[in-house]
Amino acid sequence: MFDFISFIPRAVVQGIPLLLGSTGETLTEKSGNLNLGIPGIMYVGGISGVIGSFFYEQSVETVQPFAAIAIPLACCILGSLLMGLLYCFLTVTLRANQNVTGLALTTFGVGFGNFFGGSLIKLSGSSLPSVILSATSNCFRRSLPAAEKLGAFGKLFLSYGFLAYVAVIIALVSAWVINRTRVGLHLRAVGENPNTADAAGINVSRYKYVATCTGAVIAGLGGLYYVMDYASGVWTNDAFGDRGWLAIALVIFTVWRPNVGVLASFLFGGLYIVHMYIPSGMNLAVKELYKMAPYVVTTIVLVLTSMRNKRENQPPASLGLPYFREER
């Protein structure tokens, strides 16, 4: 029998980084910026947090829970914010091609993560190829004390670290902001047709900057969650893998709706690890095919939404196009 009680929490913790990444990317794309740098930004977010907590753990004897959470969090936000600003400066102010800038950002971010990860490994002088920050991680992973007493219910709903709940709240709030507030209306206008938005008196550049930078910070938190919670504070180079691209896939899968993303990310998390749960006997090769599932499913959704051609399910109309006021 398929063991749902152990499968679902693992799918959820797999899904949370994807949820944060895709919420960030949705906000970004709603402003018309197709930020393909998200994978890089998530790396930078993760490693910034690791750097912060590494030096904090080195400098003190006993770790204060508050500082142990606040320092990596602040470092992570700062690191990913800088990446977001860089992307905005190049694409919004200098109007560079978004695909090229995003890919360059990913190259840079992944390199940044692996380089400083490698340097920290050297500094810590450990024999393993990883940095281990278990004290910090314990603060991040602390769940409600009631979780263990409540049996299956506790395991399914209460067993996660605080960032997981923050991720869900961020997704729901983003969905509310995008669809139900004036700011969200303006943001969507900027993404759909910046000329019209500009004519209506909306500051297009400011909206693009704020949305993209906020998106970058949220995505960066995904990287932090991955290291501190999912990986128990162990940073290994390249361990984060292709989750950043999966987050971008998730944006399409949820047709640009962060609230749908909450459940969809858990589904993706499940698809990502389902190969460990399906009994394939000795045939290891089949597992590789199961890993294809999230991408195939995304492709199918992409095709179906474009075939049905419902207006509310389309990508923002000006996605990927730079805006220059004097060019009409």
Partner: protein, 370 residues
């Protein structure tokens, strides 16, 4: 009413056409700044003399005849993928699937090398490899293209997803065909019989690849600039409505161009498997599908300039690798430097396309400056 008019500090306007030497001067300046910035970063991180760092970068590509051959081979492979994605880009169709298309081409070539020996003679195996790789690459590009043409499915995201489907498919076959058993990798295929290995010209292992890609480069230049197809691609890229108005069948152009794009990516995979590595791994394309996007864009989609831009990126990549080994840094340092250089070059494009007018001091409304 507030009658004061405020002149902003500066305003940006589009520039007209610039002579080519000026645009390249700006790019050169951007590159120079990038190199200085990279030197500074490396000095800060390692505490080495920047001149030594530059010498190491140069040494990484030109240090020995072998290094020069590797450099040329890497340029050829990157150029091949870049040439492949360019026709699609000219059409404003963002084919980010070069990685997957090349990988699937490599998979097809490896399949022929593994399954056909014993049934066919060597020359027939090689012929099958060529056909299979090009067809596989073309197929991988055709799927997004057909959906793009028929239902306007977003090709950027579709091709991106196809990359990972291809990667997993290769991972699957890497386990199926693994040798020795249990290693999870294929190893060198036909290492004894050398069936399906491309012939070597003289003692130069990489010369064949380089010559093939050089030929493709020239053909692509002619195709894009002097053929009817190339013209149609340009029109569709500039304005789809105009293309429809003048009677170009846009759907057909999209599918045809993507088929070409995919087939050339398949060629890159074929060369990587058949001629260079004689094996298949999931990372054999080595991110070239993504780097190619930058190569092609930096050269403004011009095949001849692409030789220069792909040289630049490969040179920097290898140089950065050399710095990493020489000064005991980890190899990812190269990615950081490549990223920094790209940011500078991307930024310098702004000064080619736009110009900034600063507010003249004391300028007033109505006085009118010409």
């Amino acid at each position: 009413m507030n009658s004061k008019t405020r002149t902003p500090l500066f305003h940006v306007s589009k520039r007209g056409l610039m002579p080519w030497y000026k645009t390249w001067a700006i790019r050169g300046l951007g590159l120079l700044l990038a190199v200085i910035a990279c030197g500074l970063i490396t000095t800060l991180v390692t505490g080495q003399n920047p001149l030594q760092v530059y010498a190491a970068i140069f040494n990484g590509s030109f240090g020995s005849p072998r290094k020069i051959w590797v450099l040329l081979q890497n340029i050829a492979m990157l150029l091949c993928v870049s040439l492949a994605v360019t026709p699609a880009f000219r059409m404003r169709c963002w084919n980010l699937g070069g990685e997957g298309q090349a990988l699937i081409g490599g998979l097809a070539a490896a399949a022929c090398m593994i399954l056909l020996p014993g049934r066919l003679p060597n020359w027939a195996v090689i012929a099958c490899m060529c056909v299979a790789s090009l067809a596989a690459g073309a197929l991988w590009a055709a799927i997004p293209a057909i959906f793009k043409a028929k239902w306007n499915t977003n090709e950027t995201l579709f091709t991106l997803m196809m990359n990972y489907v291809a990667t997993q498919l290769v991972a699957f076959y890497c386990v199926v065909w693994e040798s020795p058993k249990g290693s999870g990798t294929i190893g060198v295929i036909n290492s004894k019989t050398e069936i399906g290995w491309f012939p070597q010209i003289g003692s130069y292992k990489y010369l064949l690849n380089i010559l093939i890609v050089a030929a493709v480069c020239i053909l692509m230049y002619v195709y894009l600039n002097y053929s009817k197809h190339g013209y149609e691609i340009a029109v569709v890229g500039e304005s789809e409505r105009t293309a429809r108005y003048v009677g170009i069948k846009v759907e057909r152009v999209i599918v045809r161009t993507m088929l070409l794009s995919g087939a050339l990516c398949g060629l890159a995979g074929l060369l990587l498997v058949g001629s260079t590595n004689h094996t298949l791994t999931t990372t054999i394309v080595d991110g070239r599908g993504f780097t190619a996007v930058m190569v092609s864009w930096l050269a403004k989609f011009n095949p001849i300039w692409m030789i220069l831009t792909s040289f630049l990126l490969v040179f920097l990549g290898r140089g950065a690798g050399e710095i990493a080994t020489k000064f005991g840094l980890n190899r990812s340092f190269g990615d950081i430097l490549t990223g920094v250089i790209l940011f500078f070059i991307i930024g310098s494009e702004f000064f080619i396309n736009y110009q900034i007018h600063f507010r003249k001091s004391g300028e007033r409304e109505g006085k009118g400056s010409v």
